[in-house]
């Protein structure tokens, strides 16, 4: 008997990463801006998204949304009231979405009007969880981390991995900042410690505060993407 070391040097999530890369290419070719929304349960992702879909549609855009939850299609039904195409993905116990789930679902819905060319924005509302979704690339162009004023300013310090891997931080329920004694300056400082230079928006899905800046961010990112595509061609 002899023992030896076999070098593998392989990413454990290689399969997910490869699928995500393929999805990203497909999304870019379709001119679709894909955003992955991550937060704790109860941050207000659905209310935030509901208003986003309504405002985008009112501005003449064609957004769509995928919602991940362990069970129920409550969120999809809520979001569908905006008039935008919305589909639910149930993970049946799994704590996060994976690239394979996104790819498979998009493929199976292709004949039901879910051709990527029909949309300009696709929002993926991840399972409410600040830990596990951080490891799984879904092929998104923008990862959005949301935190609400009711959660405390130190959330980014408690969950550095997800905030560090996000492109923008959205503070929700800012209309409740005062009764919650939320210190926005401290939250901004903590976000900057974890992700120096991160874009931060203070929003309220109830009053609409911060939504003009959010919509501007979205159209800016989409225009940027398209311009990169054209240069590449």
């Amino acid at each position: 008997m002899t023992t030896r070391i076999v070098e593998l040097r392989q990413g454990v999530l290689k399969k997910n990463d490869e699928l995500a890369r393929a999805l990203r290419t497909k999304f870019e070719e379709s001119g679709l801006l894909v955003l992955n929304l991550v937060s704790s349960p109860g941050t207000g992702k659905t209310a935030f998204l509901e208003r986003t879909l309504r405002e985008l549609r009112a501005a003449g855009a064609h957004p769509a949304a995928l919602v991940g939850d362990l069970e129920t299609d409550n969120d999809a039904r809520r979001l569908a009231a905006s008039g935008a195409p919305v589909r639910q993905i149930n993970t049946h116990g799994r704590c996060h979405l994976e690239a394979e789930m996104i790819g498979d679902h998009l493929e199976s819905w292709r004949h039901e009007g879910w051709q990527m060319d029909n949309f300009d924005y696709l929002f993926i509302e991840n399972v409410g969880n600040l830990v596990c979704p951080s490891s799984y690339d879904l092929g998104e162009a923008v990862r959005v981390a949301l935190l609400s004023v009711t959660e405390g300013e130190d959330k980014p310090l408690k969950y550095p991995t997800i905030f560090n891997s996000s492109d923008i931080a959205v503070i929700t329920k800012i209309d409740l900042a005062e009764p919650c004694e939320f210190n926005a300056e401290l939250a901004r400082k903590n976000l900057n410690e974890i992700r120096p230079g991160i874009t931060i928006l203070e929003t309220s899905a109830k009053t609409g505060a911060g939504f003009p800046q959010w919509l501007e961010f979205l159209s800016g990112r989409r225009a940027g993407r398209m311009a990169t595509q054209e240069t590449a061609i």
Partner: protein, 117 residues
Amino acid sequence: MHELSIIYGVVSTVSEAMKDKPNVRILSVRMRVGALSGVVEGALQFGYEIATEGTMLAGSQLVVENLPVVIFCQHCGKPQELPGVQSFRCPVCNTPSGDIRQGRELEVESIEVEEAA
């Protein structure tokens, strides 16, 4: 807690690499886990025995090399290792940096196998 899914990923990575060598016994699996991988060693170790049961990794030992975050500091002009993940500033000159050079790893580095000579 998605460490079980991660271990299943380890099992499939190793099984795939060793599929033509059914006669080897795997003694240990060495992983590299970055401080920003979203995975903690304790939870990996906790689920390892159960998740590898009935696979070619059954009975093997999991060895985890924990990797700290390394940022590139523009001011110092070189990579700097961070003492933790609570502040992404250069520990020498305090300049913030989002340029991460190490810390996201989640890899199977190598396996130690025993085979008939």
